[in-house]
């Protein structure tokens, strides 16, 4: 089954520190077997939250706030999409995560994909095109954590917006997430991993769904978000973070 992997932030990632060669090597090695089996669908790094924005929708109005927003570990620094037979196997695989990452204190969250309303995930975040790429993450709420199913009209609007965005070429991918109840976290402390089962109490740290859009600048991504029919938009917040391009991550 396809699951999403969120690599939580740390001081380095929030400072914009790029992965150093040994870490790049170790990560590559860790993912290599999976990639060789075609079980890695995506792997993206997110730029520091100081460069990001949050858009809060309230009473039909959108308020844009600049980052940084939270403690480093509350921020998501990387998103991967991988295929695993089940969450337990995924957690075991995560225990072998390179200990170089976050200097032995990495935290990785894995969540089941699947929009509670049944809308399918789609696309490829690395699809080529002009301009920059942004992750638009819908922050979770109590309702979302209860696997609340949005009304049919909302789902229909979302399906329609997804299709139109893909056709136009600026919407690269999108995935809905199940609540953190079926999720897990693997937290490394001094290089030693510990598996923690969901649900996770700090709802404001959680993501309910994410989209990957292409835009010339963050203004374009904000405009897209303002026009998108997010479920529960009366009180929704999205976080918009630019994705690293490979040249930025691996280049000198």
């Amino acid at each position: 089954m396809k699951i999403v992997l969120f690599r939580r932030g740390d001081a380095d990632s929030e400072a914009g520190v790029k992965p150093w060669p040994a870490l790049v090597q170790a990560m590559g090695d860790h993912f290599a077997a999976l990639e060789a089996e075609g079980r890695v669908y995506a792997g993206e790094g997110l730029k520091p939250s100081s460069q990001a924005v949050r858009v809060t929708f309230k009473d039909g109005k959108a308020v844009v706030t600049d980052g940084p927003f939270a403690e480093a570990r509350e921020v998501i620094a990387g998103i991967s999409l991988i295929d695993m037979p089940d969450m337990d196997t995924a957690a075991e695989w995560l225990k072998q995560w390179p200990i170089e990452d976050a200097h032995g204190n990495a935290e990785i969250e894995i969540r089941d994909l699947g929009c509670p309303g049944g809308l399918p995930g789609f696309g490829d975040p690395a699809a080529p095109g002009e301009g920059r790429r942004y992750a638009v993450m819908l922050l979770s709420t109590e309702a979302a954590e209860a696997d609340f199913v949005p009304p049919k009209e909302v789902l229909a609007k979302m399906a329609d917006a997804n299709r139109r965005g893909q056709d136009a070429g600026h919407l690269l991918a999108g995935e809905g997430l199940k609540s953190s109840r079926s999720g897990k976290r693997v937290k490394f402390t001094g290089g030693k991993p510990q598996v923690i089962d969901g649900p996770f109490a700090e709802v404001k740290e959680l993501v309910a769904g994410f989209w990957i859009v292409r835009a010339a600048s963050i203004a374009g991504a904000i405009a897209w978000a303002e026009g998108y029919p997010f479920p529960g938009k009366e009180w929704a917040t999205v976080e918009i973070r630019q994705l690293y391009e490979p040249e930025e991550l691996f280049g000198p």
Binding site: V24, Q25, G28, D29, F31, A32, A33, E35, A36, E37, G38, V40, A42, G43, D124, A126, P128, P246, E247, F250, G251, P252
Partner: protein, 417 residues
């Protein structure tokens, strides 16, 4: 089979299917070479993936280097001929320069054949496509593609170390780099007017590479020497060929068509080479020779004594009958035909020059100046028979005829009817 999955994973990072395919292929080739030697790994798929991915990351690094930093550096280099500035550059903790230098020395690594070094240099440093390189060297694209593939494979050997060489090693490796650059220049320089535009563009490419190298290694005399040589030679490009494409000898060229800017830069580069190392290396010496001609506004103004002295120095380094012959020509201009004839007579029986038409041609010229017209005519006939160039043959036949006319008049060989 793993290949499509590896390619797909690489495309995600490289955003380019062609390159992804190429690197996946390279990984498979590496496996075919290493696994029989080292044993098949426990997870062959993961091994292939890791190998391919490492190359992909290297490729990205090189891509960024060549595209972004390269432009910045070569723009800054337009006049790095001030030694003060050169020392400052050297002292800078310039890791951009280091990476680029490493790239240069990698492309010219001794494990590669000279042809492979040239192809890889043009590809990695010049950013030329396989097609462009092929057209420049008048070879099939597949040949160049294979050269580059094999070169990459050879470089992928773990025994190959990627770093800028030091000390004695540096001098030897630098010589290879300079040789490659000059090879590229000559390939373009030899291509006369007409034909593919790519060939003359090679001169520009070689010049650019030379200047970048001079900026990266500003204290190396021979690098400046090579740049000087290329600039001085390139300065004559517009005067070298007649409208119909036939080559014009240097002493007969219209000097108003010589590029003054290139001459200025070439002389400045030569001065830098001299300040740094006495300009005693082969490139600097050849540049000094070219400079003698460049400084003369008219052929009559040429400092032949200096040219002769330079040939003597050059001969001590690279003894060669052809260079000795050139020295004789310079000697005849500086001291008269008799002294020069002595030198040429000693070369007469050198087997290395047996098919070289310029030997009898020069000898004929000297004999003619000494009034020995019967011998001169015989030499011109001999030379005409040796040359494959129609225009040259005509010229030599004309000189033979002219000499014979002078034999027919007995005595001093002067006067006419």
């Amino acid at each position: 089979m793993e290949a499509p999955r590896i390619i797909a994973a690489l495309v995600r990072v490289l955003r380019d299917v062609g390159t992804a395919e190429e690197l996946a292929q390279d990984a498979l080739v590496a496996a075919l070479e290493q696994w029989p030697r080292d044993g098949v790994p426990d997870k062959p798929g993961a091994w292939l993936m890791t190998t391919a991915r490492n190359r992909a990351i290297d490729r990205i690094r090189h891509r960024v280097l060549v595209e972004k930093k390269h432009e910045a550096i070569s723009h800054d280099l337009d006049d790095v001929y001030d030694e003060q500035e050169a020392r400052m550059f050297a002292a800078l903790d310039d890791d951009i320069g280091d990476d680029l230098l490493r790239l240069v020395f990698t492309a010219c690594h001794p494990v590669l054949s000279p042809e492979a070094q040239v192809a890889l240099t043009l590809r990695l440093l010049g950013g030329l496509s396989t097609d462009e390189i092929a057209r420049a060297f008048l070879l099939p694209e597949a040949t160049i593609a294979q050269r580059i593939v094999r070169a990459k494979r050879a470089l992928a050997d773990p025994a190959v170390v990627y770093e800028v060489p030091r000390g004695e090693d540096l001098q030897a490796r630098l010589a290879a780099v300079l040789r490659v650059v000059y090879l590229v220049f000559n390939e373009g320089y030899a291509a006369t007017a007409g034909g593919d535009w790519m060939r003359p563009a090679l001169c520009d490419e070689a010049l650019r590479l030379g200047r970048v190298l001079a900026g990266l290694m500003p204290l190396e005399s021979e690098v400046h020497g090579l740049v000087a040589l290329m600039e001085l030679q390139a300065s004559r490009a517009s005067a070298r060929t007649a409208a119909d494409g036939t080559p014009i000898l240097l002493l007969e060229q219209d000097r108003s068509r010589w590029d003054r800017l290139l001459i200025q830069r070439g002389l400045a580069a030569l001065a830098t080479a001299e300040r740094l190392g006495g300009a005693a290396g082969p490139y600097a010496l050849q540049a000094a020779l070219a400079a003698c001609h460049a400084r003369a506004a008219r052929p009559e103004d040429t400092d032949w004594n200096r040219i002769h002295a330079l040939y003597q120095v050059l001969l001590r380094q690279t003894p060669s009958p052809v260079i000795e012959l050139n020295r004789a020509v310079a000697l005849s201009m500086a001291q008269g035909p008799a002294a020069a004839l002595e030198v040429v007579d000693r070369l007469k029986d050198d087997p290395a020059l047996s098919g070289y038409h310029l030997l009898p041609s020069v000898r004929g010229d000297l004999l003619s100046k000494l009034g020995r017209h019967d011998e001169a005519a015989a030499e011109f006939h001999r030379a005409a028979a040796m040359t494959r160039n129609d225009r040259e043959r005509d010229l030599l036949n004309e000189r033979a005829t002219a000499a014979e006319k002078l034999i027919a008049r007995p005595g001093t060989g002067q006067g006419s009817e």
